[in-house]
């Protein structure tokens, strides 16, 4: 069966992690895996650039990590479960970190969730939204 990754690109505000992303983001994601070890978390938090220098990542990937720009990391092949190791190291919750990818601050985002979450109406298709 011929893969069709294009079909996922019309979902607004969403980056689907595919086998292609997995290949492109391999070293970024493996760096994240290393943060499962408490000793590595300490070293990374003490000197991020020095820790990242040990990894075979692109300069763009390293800069996105330093900037804590999670959307950029997704664009460069990161997967959110891997990236969670970065914010977990800093003691942040999923809600706190995930909200940085939206146009809300963490408090507004948390309130949206308590109110029942983001309504899907208007969020099904980029074409529908005039974004494509």
């Amino acid at each position: 069966m011929k893969p069709n990754f294009e079909q996922y690109k019309d979902i607004p505000g969403t980056t689907i992690f595919t086998i292609e992303s997995a290949q492109k983001g391999f070293h970024l994601n493996q760096f994240c895996m290393s943060l499962r070890d408490a000793k590595n978390r300490e070293r990374f938090l003490a000197d991020g650039p020095a820790y990242l220098a040990e990894w075979d990542m692109t300069d763009e990937q390293k800069q996105a990590v330093i900037d804590r720009d999670f959307q950029r990391m997704l664009d460069l092949g990161g997967n959110v479960y891997f990236l969670s190791k970065i914010f977990a190291a800093e003691g942040l919750s999923y809600v706190q970190a995930v909200s940085t990818m939206t146009d809300m601050n963490p408090e507004e985002y948390q309130q949206m969730m308590i109110n029942g979450g983001r309504n899907i109406e208007g969020w099904r298709s980029k074409k529908e939204r005039g974004e494509a």
Partner: protein, 281 residues
Amino acid sequence: MAKIVAGIATSHVPAVGHAVDSGKTQDAYWKPMFDGYEFSKQWAKDNPADVAIIVYNDHASYFGMDIMPTFALGIADSFAICDEGYGPRPIPVVEGAPELATHLGASLIMDDFDMTILNALEVDHGLTVPMSLMYGSPEKWPTKVIPLPVNVVMNPQPSGERCLALGKAIKRAVEQFDGDLRVEVWGTGGMSHQIQGARAGLINLPWDIQFMDDLINQPEVLQYKPHLEYMIEAGSEGVELIMWLIMRGALGDKVNEVYRFNHVPASNTSVGHLILTPKED
């Protein structure tokens, strides 16, 4: 012979594990959700199982990107608890069921399911949060466990048809085991949630409820739902729900709905929970 006596479906949100471990289950935010599992904890005591086959996904906790099995099976004596970045959860080690697990692994492979066999595995919140919800915080878990990790993180994930068929193969394998065991199959993950991108926080409760109805009443139709629809309607992480189809396939054609619960939100997620039993005609 061994017998599948029930199927359990539940979401597996990491913050739920944290709430249990830090004694916050009675806080205003969490209480309504945990109250919804009180029935289930009592039901689990009244209907003890010898082994639970827990279908779940690893969240970059044990598997890195160096190896990404589509379907795997843990056949070890025991499974330690992963450090997911916050330190390991302070919960008992999960005891395996190697005799049934080796039978199951062999049977599934001979039935054309190319399982990856795990003699070593640490388990994460995908498996342990459902156990906390069903069993609370015991000194020792009441049930032995066969972990069945599924890749739902990297697209392409296995198809819905393949998941339902795997469930059916699990039923056949369990019934051919020479031993008098009560076995449950758990499908975990979901329901609607998205934890990345500008669309993060998506919840679609009407879709979730319809999914539950279809899972119970017409899994043969539901199996053909394309991954694209899960991703659009239930969020990029909502595709975890294909794991519920594995549980459903293991229960046979008709089921009794023993219990159903929905709650929004737990962290970023629409929580859904079912207890089903096979209907004997």
